[in-house]
């Protein structure tokens, strides 16, 4: 079992079939308070898991608990405690933004006047200005995304489940929304499960990461642990020495030959970047020498770290190999 502490979500051997197709395969997971990123390739079961957690879909086997409420008996309490931003472009036709948000507040049980006041507050927080009085059918994709966020927080839920919350937003809006999500978690004690394909977003705001593939949980860990170097090594980035008459390509070939001669194992990460294994930064004399001999300059040398992308790809590849 993958364990983090004090779970807001707890799934135990949850299995879900669509007809004969297995969508969730014996999923066991605990998610602790804080911001958790849920990653996985398309069709791996992320949205199915979220819909199961909200009681929108029934699972055939296993148990699930959200904010201490057992499914399916506690589905009303769960939906009271959860704010959900669906991945899909969804809206209620015929209503303005403010009416739509107020309506959502009232569906969550807020009295009419309170619902309207709260709708204005959450739309202010989501940076929706005078557009809130326009019909939602006239909204752009980004505006609808912000509207969904405003609707998700209107009833002040303890847990936010955000499915691709930044899709359709321009870079400035994306940064702003991520900041707001982080603020909700750090200053207002909200737990957040953010499901996204944008690994950069996860690395910006998440405390924990869950990676799914083929309906299974492949990895659960804190972002801090995942970012630690898996083994000693350095990353170097090179550029051509202005004094060298050779082309960069031929200089890099010379550099690689020198590294091999010096007995270093390395991976070429990009055209001009290398990951050199089993060497500490203070033991990098031979690397400097190889670079000087090859006519290239080291403009960056740093301890190697796992990138989230590498962790993600490695987890997904493992599954693909297992399936094959």
């Amino acid at each position: 079992m993958n364990t983090l502490d004090e779970p807001v979500l707890h799934l135990e051997n949850v299995t879900k079939f669509y007809g004969k197709r297995l969508a969730l395969d014996d999923v066991t997971l605990q998610v602790s308070p804080g911001v958790t990123g849920l990653l996985g390739p398309n069709g791996c079961g992320k949205s199915t898991m979220i819909k199961c957690l909200l009681g929108l879909l029934k699972f055939q086997q296993g148990r699930a608990r959200v904010m201490g409420h057992e499914l399916p008996q506690g589905v009303r309490s769960i939906r009271d405690a959860v704010g959900y931003v669906p991945e899909d472009d969804c809206f209620l036709a015929g209503l303005s933004g403010i009416e739509s948000t107020c309506f959502m507040a009232r569906l969550s049980g807020l009295p009419a006047i309170e619902g309207l006041r709260r709708a204005h507050e959450s739309m202010d927080y989501a940076d929706i200005g005078q557009e809130r009085y326009r019909n939602v059918e006239t909204y752009s994709t980004g505006m609808r995304q912000k509207l969904k966020f405003a609707q998700a927080i209107v009833h002040d839920p303890a847990l936010l489940i955000l499915d691709e919350p930044t899709s359709g937003l321009d870079p400035a809006q994306r940064v702003s929304l991520l900041k707001k999500i982080k603020t909700l978690a750090t200053h207002h004690n909200k737990s957040v499960l953010i499901c996204t394909h944008i690994l950069h977003d996860v690395s910006q705001i998440c405390d924990n990461v869950v990676i799914m593939a083929a309906g299974r949980i492949k990895l659960v860990d804190s972002l801090e642990n995942l970012s630690r170097p898996s083994r000693s090594g350095v990353q170097v980035r090179l550029e051509q020495n202005t004094a060298s008459a050779d082309s960069l390509d031929s200089c890099l070939q010379t550099f690689m030959a020198a590294m091999t001669r010096a007995g270093h194992e390395f991976d070429r990460q990009s055209h001009d970047a290398f990951l050199i294994h089993n060497v500490q930064p203070h033991q990098a004399d031979s690397i400097w020498r190889a670079a000087a001999d090859a006519g290239v300059t080291i403009f960056q040398l740093k301890p190697a770290k796992n990138s989230l992308e590498e962790v993600f790809l490695s987890a997904v590849r493992e599954t693909e190999h297992a399936v094959a």
């Binding site: 909200l54 879909l57 939906r79 009271d80 969804c90 036709a93 009232r106 569906l107 969550s108 207002h188």
Partner: protein, 327 residues
């Protein structure tokens, strides 16, 4: 840029009862529907027949003290589909026939102008209620809240019920009150006290199956225009089928009436083909509610068909909503 921004604020108020969320869906839905200009016009138009029937009630009550008006009443009751004995009673003893005549008039009000208007009003309101939510994936917003499918369906149904009540129940009750207030005879209350209850029961039987059918049409498709087509097609096809299958028998009955065999009575011609036509089916059940159903026939098949149709429509809507969750 704001000069002062307090940022996010928590909310700690008390929530309203969790079992009244369908009411929120209903009230918001009614508000959205009322924005339609065409619906507003149709609702105003629906008051016109009530005025006409109000005049008939007035003339009937006057005929009790002014016998010269009784022939006019007999003609009006004939037009409203009254039977021969009923017409005779209206001429000879209008006080004794009051309950039956008022029932016949209220039934005619329900069955002819208001049912046609009902088709139009429901056709304007209901088709978009679910199809829009399916098209715009609004169901995800509803069902991520503490709402169960039955509350969603109930909320949407109440929207349609409200408009049906506006064009049928309210004017019918108003007609009854007009009848009471125009009568010079105080015994009218004792003689007709049950009619408002029959109006409510009749409205209920009109509302529930028609709303279920209209919402099923709406849940059938993401295009509301297709739902409109399906709604009108169901009524039209049923009506035409009934008309074709019973045309021979109706012609024969009319001929007998003209020959003076005394078989007239639009109400007493009963055909099993009525079960195919929603319009005739509902009319027959309303006739039973107003106590005008032919005694030698059973209303049970009619009620059974309505019940089965309603249950099937509701199950279909539920299934459509569940199916969308998986998509």
């Amino acid at each position: 840029m704001p000069l002062h921004d307090v940022g996010y604020r928590a909310w700690t108020g008390a929530t309203v009862s969790p079992w009244l969320r369908w009411w929120v869906i209903a009230t918001v839905g009614i508000r959205i529907a009322l924005r339609s200009t065409w619906l507003g016009r149709t609702l105003i138009l629906s008051a016109v027949p009530a005025i006409g029937f109000g005049v008939i009630f007035f003339v009937y009550e006057q005929s009790i003290t002014q016998p010269e008006l009784r022939q006019a009443i007999a003609n009006m009751v004939t037009v409203a589909g009254g039977t021969q004995p009923m017409i005779q009673a209206a001429i000879t003893d209008p006080v004794a026939a009051r309950h039956e005549i008022w029932s016949a008039l209220l039934l005619a009000f329900f069955r002819y102008p208001q049912t046609v208007l009902l088709l139009v009003v429901v056709g304007l309101v209901a088709p978009r209620l679910i199809s829009y939510d399916l098209r715009n994936k609004g169901y995800l917003l509803y069902f991520s809240r503490p709402i169960q499918p039955w509350e969603y369906i109930l909320g949407k149904s109440v929207i349609v019920w409200f408009f049906i009540a506006v064009i049928t129940t309210m004017p019918a009750i108003l007609l009854y009150i007009i009848g009471l207030s125009l009568s010079s005879d105080v015994t009218v209350v004792a003689a007709t006290w049950d009619l408002p209850l029959r109006v409510v029961a009749s409205s209920f039987l009109l509302m529930v199956p028609t709303t279920a059918l209209a919402l099923a049409c709406s849940a059938l498709t993401i295009e509301s225009r297709n739902a409109v087509f399906a709604w009108f097609a169901v009524w039209l096809v049923g009506w035409v089928t009934y008309g074709v299958l019973t045309s021979g028998a109706v012609i024969e009955a009319e001929q007998r009436r003209h020959r003076g065999f005394g078989v007239p009575q639009a109400y007493s011609f009963v055909s099993r083909w009525e079960l195919l036509s929603p319009y005739h089916l509902l009319g027959r059940v309303q006739q039973w509610i107003f106590g005008l159903f032919p005694e030698d026939h059973s209303v049970l098949p009619y009620l059974s068909i309505l019940l089965v149709t309603t249950v099937l429509c509701l199950l279909f809507i539920y299934r459509q909503l569940r199916a969308r969750m998986v998509a």
